[in-house]
Symmetry: C2
């Protein structure tokens, strides 16, 4: 833990033992009872199916969550940025896989610093010239870098476009002295939110085919490719049936959000395998117009990347509309207007990852009591 984090903790630990009613709003709450059930459920799925679990920390950016995931049996955690990886590393988290290409002089320097002290840190590659950059930097620093081939599964975002390109990259890695090939990272983002379990299963199985084929080719020629990582909260109980996959990267399961609720579960139209542990607490700050109420949570309190907003927790008949940077307007749909100025409401977030990224702390509550305050290491350095 850095000095800065220690100081933060000092300030925020003073809230421990207070009630959620003592918090200013908006605040980000974590219901520990629900969180712990989610944590346990995914850990048991991993254990019972035999697939490894390296949950994605981009969802929480919170070392305290990562340490609990590892405590429950995870191999480590994934990170999407070098900033996340550094924050996790400073907190003592082991088994970090950075799932984005660390391109550019400064990111490569930072990756080397991590890899020097933790020889198990891994990152991904999809480009020959990048391999040369990494190898040169690794040689100069006397550090071996663990790499996985990043494979595109249809989004055209990052990753090699096909099996031949993947094989060419793998061969080159094996020829470079400061790189160590570990396997393949293949995240099918297009599968994660396919509506309907059957459709999602078919989508994920088909999407993963080129990655499985590449892995098989690599292994046939004797390359060290022990890892095939991918998957999401939406496909956790689908990808564990794909024999070649060695690890799951699911992240959102610990929190859940409106986005994942909509995808449909194995047993019915609602995906309720995991509970809503994450909410935003807001206050009714204006009540000037019949049929409407205004809360103190807008674009800066909820992610806005989806075409829908947050949902009231445990309460129907109220529809949230974004009302600008700091405001949300509640439309009272059922005519039952018993909202009062100062009322405090809890919202399930539209999309958990970019919502968490708007806050510095998770207020961990059990019932009304604040049991812990966990720092969120958001931002870019």
């Amino acid at each position: 833990m850095s000095d800065q984090m220690r100081m933060d903790r000092g300030i925020w630990d003073a809230r421990v033992g207070q009630s959620r009613h003592d918090l200013s709003t908006p605040s980000l709450l974590l219901d520990l009872d629900v969180f712990e059930v989610n944590l346990k459920k995914m850990a048991e799925h991993s254990k019972s199916t035999g697939i490894g679990l390296r949950p994605h920390a981009k969802s929480h950016k919170c070392p305290e969550v990562a340490l609990r995931q590892i405590g429950a049996g995870a191999l480590g955690v994934c990170a999407a940025t070098i900033d996340e990886a550094e924050a996790l590393w400073r907190a003592g988290v082991k088994g970090i896989l950075i799932t984005s290409e660390m391109v550019g002089r400064r990111k490569i320097e930072r990756l080397l610093t991590l890899s020097k002290t933790d020889t198990e840190v891994m990152s991904v590659v999809d480009n020959l010239s990048h391999l040369d950059d990494l190898n040169q930097a690794g040689q100069a620093a006397g550090v071996t870098l663990n790499v996985l081939i990043d494979m595109d599964l249809g989004l055209k975002r990052t990753g090699v476009a096909g099996i031949e390109t993947g094989m060419a990259l793998a061969e080159r890695i094996c020829a470079l002295p400061s790189l160590r090939l570990r396997g393949i990272s293949a995240y099918s983002s297009l599968s994660a939110h396919v509506i309907g379990y059957v459709e999602r299963r078919a989508h994920s199985f088909q999407s993963m085919e080129p990655a499985i084929e590449l892995l098989s080719r690599m292994r046939r020629v004797g390359m060290p490719a022990e890892i095939l990582t991918g998957g999401s909260t939406g496909t956790y109980n689908i990808d564990s049936d794909i024999e070649a996959m060695t690890e799951l990267q699911a992240g959102s399961y610990i929190f859940m959000d409106v986005d994942y609720e909509m995808i449909g579960g194995k047993g019915g139209p609602s995906f309720n395998d995991f509970g809503f542990s994450l909410t935003v607490l807001a206050t009714v700050i204006s009540k000037s117009h019949a049929g409407f109420a205004t809360v103190d949570a807008g674009f800066k309190a909820f992610a806005t990347d989806r075409p829908f907003g947050p949902e009231l927790k445990g309460r129907s008949g109220l529809k949230y509309h974004f009302g600008g940077d700091e405001h949300g307007i509640l439309e009272i749909e059922d005519g039952d207007d018993d909202l009062r100025l100062g009322d405090r409401l809890e919202f399930i977030v539209p999309h958990c990852d970019p919502t968490v990224n708007l806050y510095d702390h998770l207020y961990c509550v059990r019932g009304d009591r604040i049991e812990a305050v966990w720092p969120i290491c958001r931002g870019y350095n």
Copy 2:
């Protein structure tokens, strides 16, 4: 400056004197030359038209910017949240007007703390029961709270709905010993982005009518109502022609964004009264597909509340599409695919306020040199 801020400054000041090429990405850049022209231009507009300027700090959440705005002649700054107000106050900023209702026990406590040490802090009200809460708390603490009537101008978000309600509130304020009536806050958010200068002018003039009438009524009965504050970057040279308005709250002018570029100016179809000083620096991290390139800046690097994304600065033929939390996909429209892995690109942001809210620091550059690093006091406490 708090101990925490001082420590932050120590760490980040080490970057001063480095080149922008030394920065990791994504990073938030402020072009000081352009920023200073924007600052001066609005200050001169305020001076030449005789309207006061209290710029909105919700756009920057940055005490260093606020101090420069005041240095250039502003009366103070507006804040949208108690967190912003506290950060500004800690940095020695005077003349703070909080433009959201401070409802709820914790926010009232925090408002009292500020008001105790700075008797000029102001906030807004739109509700009788809120007045009683504020007065009670003020009496208990021996503090007089400066308040403005918040008037709704059509959005039904916050503010009194009509002139009679406004007068009733004003009368009550005058009767309460711990409240001091200062005037009216009337922000016409619906006017700010009306396309076309003539249309925007007509919209703002019409929208402001009830606020002007309320002010006139208040003054006729001898109420102390010296302030009528409102306006935006979009209406800065419109509202200064409204005789009753005493202050402008424009905020975005120091940065500009794609959203404001679109509204049209007094002299032509593009609103170019202020320059683009704010950009996000990103890196091409993947180049696996013909016609596309991927940068390391997505939902967590740019505001997503508008139906459009960022725009490349100083470069055409490339269209940005959001590619998830950490990625953007550039579509190469002109076929001239000279982008290379590791290329660093600058983007004009879609909407400045919620974009700034995603970063902890503004890297202030003059040419390529980092001249200063200014902390952004985002987040909620």
